[in-house]
Amino acid sequence: MVGLSGSTLLGKFKKDNVNNRKQIKYREQKLALLIVWTIITLIITIVILFPFFADRQTVLKNAPTCISKSQFNVECSLCGMTRAFIEISNGSFSNAIDLNRGSIVIFFTFALNFFIFIFYLIFKLRSTKIIDDT
């Protein structure tokens, strides 16, 4: 407090006040986005973890058949994605690329989203003191 002039203090107060108002104003929107992100991440996590825990036949039986392939016998850009995800879960990335070129990128984007979400949650919980640092 010592050493700050009146105008500087007033400016600082105004700036803090504006920031607080902005935080309050967008709190509901941030909460909505966080809930949406959580739902999407949960769905994505189930999608990428399912081939790791279920056997190949179960995954292929539960995955829907592509309409483009079944009706017109033409492969679409997403064809082979389920089989590619199974290959990734088995560790054979070259087979996954052969089945669908975009599978590796999509798989690691999903995985990256999951880790960012986990780190965000840990950071958020620590900043709200729910997780004790000691």
Binding site: E28, Q29, L31, A32, L33, I35, V36, I39, I40, C66, I67, S68, Q71, C76, S77, L78
Partner: protein, 83 residues
């Protein structure tokens, strides 16, 4: 209620975008009823809001659900209800 309508709106828009991918148009059969539920929630949130209370989130939810329904329907018709 207002936040719920916004959540429904954002999820409906995300569903609509995914439904625009080739061969995933049938997702709109799920997304349009979902957006309709969001629309109803938004209308209820708007009507329940008291005088002077901000309705921004409810309006945003209403608009997002409406857009998702409209474009989802167009996509569904364009894909013949299947593709």
């Amino acid at each position: 209620m207002k936040t719920a309508s916004l959540i429904f709106g954002i999820l409906a828009i995300v569903g609509m975008i995914v439904g625009f991918f080739p061969c995933l148009g049938s997702l709109n059969w799920i997304n349009i009823p979902f957006a309709t539920i969001g629309l109803i929630i938004s209308i209820v949130a708007m009507t329940q809001a008291k005088e002077g209370e901000p309705k921004g989130n409810a309006i945003a939810g209403l608009v997002l659900c409406g857009v998702a329904m409209l474009f989802g329907l167009i996509r569904l018709i364009a894909g013949g209800g299947v593709l």
